[in-house]
């Protein structure tokens, strides 16, 4: 007997009692299936969270103006304009970690088409805004710098606005709508973006050049920006650097002493995304831990049955020893049986877990991405469970005395 033929011998022995073998393997099947499906579901959740944040913008930072502080009462951030157009220019030119920066001034307006009108949020901004938001034009074109300078009355709309004004799927390019009785020409339709993490419809929005916004919709504040600045760092890793560059730049420009608080506020969306991501990861780890526990319980099930099996087959062990089985032969046989059980259980569990993960992902509309490393890991782990929990019964079998074993009834 060698290690090559020990597996078929073990398999034959297991097939002599199919029901019991299946029930024994069931623990491992459930354990592995839960590991695979839990991790896949966790991965799906993670992919979804990153998808949502990617939709919000690319490596995005948001700069809000400072708070007022009169007589001990502090207003919220943005209650007092502190950011100037010069600040924006400086951020664009003097912060190396910043790729794009755009102002954004937003209000609610009612847009009137020939026979429909729709109230939506309108944002005055510059073309960089769409780069920061990672938002592509679907039809027509964006407004350019010349539109900005000339304050032309052009409008870029989101898909929902177009649907509401002209009916779903129709082409709004070249049509004229009125905002506060002023005619605007629709030049661009944005690609559909979906919902924000809070459930807001991104596509329910319209955009005009910021100069136009100040002239026609809501007056500006001369030197100050009556809104926010959105910024995109050159990469996800550089958002922290961009944040500190902007902070020191703005503190310098606003002549803030070392003891003064910032009169602006920077929100790092990448960090928020990471925090969210970590939350999901923690959840995934928790689920995986529970699954691993069930795998260990499955292993104990194997040990249990193997111990019963050793007792039941004492006579068989005696016969094998009498015709020349050495202690290690018996050890190898029982170990191989445990490992075969757990590996077959592992294989079935992998198939079952993948099916469950696929069904769950399908129900929730997530993408199912099988993790090959998890599949290999749980297969290896189930084999390890077989060795770990098979060793004790196998040792017990190999230490039997042949005469006692043969006498056993």
């Amino acid at each position: 007997m060698n290690l090559i033929n020990v597996m078929p011998i073990a398999f034959t022995a297991l097939m002599r009692n199919k029901t019991r073998s299946f029930l024994t393997a069931l623990g491992v099947i459930i354990g592995v299936a839960s590991v695979i499906s839990m991790v896949a579901v966790g991965e799906g959740a993670k992919a979804r969270v990153s998808g949502v944040f990617a939709a919000m913008g690319t490596n995005m930072l948001i700069i809000l103006s400072g708070s007022t502080s009169t007589g001990g009462v502090s207003g919220g951030f943005g209650s007092m304009p502190t950011l100037t157009w010069e600040d924006l220019r400086a951020i664009r030119n003097q912060a190396p970690a910043v790729r794009w920066a755009a102002p954004a001034q937003t209000t609610k307006v009612t847009i009137a088409a020939e026979d429909q009108n729709w109230t939506t949020s309108i944002t005055g901004t510059s073309p960089e805004f769409f780069d920061v938001r990672n938002w592509v034009i679907d039809r027509g074109s964006l407004f350019g710098d010349s539109d900005l300078q000339a304050a032309t009355k052009v409008l870029v709309v989101g898909a929902t606005v177009s649907d509401k004004l002209f009916g779903p799927g129709s082409d709004p390019i070249g049509r004229t709508v009125r905002i506060r009785a002023v005619p605007f020409l629709i030049v661009g339709l944005l690609q559909r973006k979906g919902q924000s993490p809070m459930g807001t419809d991104y596509d329910d929005a319209a955009f005009v050049p910021v100069e136009t916004f100040q002239n026609q919709i809501q007056g500006g504040l001369q030197n100050y920006i009556a809104g926010i600045i959105v910024v995109s760092a050159i990469s996800a890793e550089d958002t922290g650097r961009a944040q500190s560059e902007i902070t020191s730049l703005l503190r310098d420009r606003h002549h803030l002493g070392p003891k003064d608080d910032d009169d602006f506020n920077i929100r790092n969306l990448t960090e928020m995304a990471n925090a969210q991501q970590q939350g999901t990861q923690t959840l995934t780890a928790l689920l995986a831990a529970i699954a691993v526990v069930s795998l260990v319980v499955g292993g104990i099930g194997i040990m249990n049955i193997m111990l019963v099996s050793v007792t039941e087959r004492t006579r068989e062990i005696g016969v094998r020893m009498a015709v020349g089985a050495k202690p290690w032969h018996v050890l190898a046989q029982f170990l191989a049986e445990a490992v075969t059980l757990s590996m077959i259980g592992g294989l079935i569990g992998i198939v079952l877990g993948s099916v469950i993960a696929r069904v769950v992902a399908g129900r929730l509309g997530w993408t199912y991405s099988p993790r090959v490393d998890m599949i290999l890991l749980s297969f290896g782990f189930s084999a390890l469970v077989g060795v770990g929990f098979g060793l004790y019964p196998a040792r017990k079998a190999s230490r039997l005395d042949p005469i006692e074993a043969l006498r056993y009834e």
Partner: protein, 242 residues
């Protein structure tokens, strides 16, 4: 002396004792047994139950080790061998036949006979072939795939004998081989042993039935853990019933 020159000594046991401790009493199952068996002998060990003959058999068959004394089997001192080496002796040098057959249940006759060859490390094809030949030589060539539960007692014992001879041992030890068989089947089994003996195998068996002991060429009587008589005889020829 002439015998000794021609036939080598297979079994040389000197002063074997086996003491079991039961609570605070000592049980001397074997009390200084010395026995020599040369190649070609057909030995019956007799004695009443509790005389120590089974203990002696387990010792000679390398299933057990003596408390004291020496035992040389086929030129090798085995009384102090490790469990693994004892297993090797049981596998290569001897074949063992039990009273209760001791076949693996739910396992075909040929697979049962193959078992010693599995532990001898033979390949699958050679195992099959040798097991088939062994089963044919005991007259069970037509029952290779029968399971023990589908065979009669006599047939099961013949499968066990085929298993004992399949690895071409020098000796066969049999512990009450006819104990679970009726008279007619017992004669069949003894006839088979005599055939193997004539073909050159050395056989030692335990029995408590004088009828069964008559087929041997030598009778050793054990009582209270000691050999009390050791005589040669002309064996009765066992005739297979028609």
């Amino acid at each position: 002396m002439v015998d000794l020159v021609v036939a080598p000594m297979l079994v040389v046991a000197r002063d074997l004792t086996k003491i079991y401790i039961l609570g605070d009493t000592e049980l001397r199952a074997l009390d200084g047994v010395s026995l020599t068996v040369v190649q070609g002998e057909f030995v019956a060990i007799m004695g009443p139950s509790g005389s120590g003959k089974s203990t002696l058999m387990n010792m000679l068959g390398c299933l057990d080790r003596p408390t004291s004394g020496t035992y040389t089997l086929d030129g090798q001192e085995v009384s102090r061998l490790s469990r693994g080496h004892l297993a090797e002796m049981r596998n290569r040098t001897i074949g063992f036949v039990f009273q209760s057959f001791n076949l693996l249940a739910r396992t075909s006759a040929i697979e049962n006979v193959e078992l010693p060859l599995v532990y001898a490390g033979l390949g699958r094809r050679e195992r099959r072939e040798r097991a088939r030949v062994a089963l044919e030589s005991v007259g069970l060539g037509g029952r290779l795939d029968h399971r023990p539960s589908q065979l009669s007692g006599g047939q099961q014992q013949r499968v066990a004998i085929a298993r004992a001879i399949v690895n071409r041992p020098k000796m066969i030890f049999a512990d009450e081989p006819t104990g679970n068989l009726d008279t007619k089947t017992s004669v069949d089994v003894m006839a088979l042993f005599q055939t193997l003996w004539r073909a050159g195998l050395t056989i030692v068996y335990v029995t408590h039935e004088p009828d069964v002991a008559r087929y041997a060429s030598r009778i050793v009587i054990v009582r209270d853990g000691k050999i009390v008589s050791d005589t040669k005889q002309e064996p009765l020829i066992a005739e297979i019933a028609a």
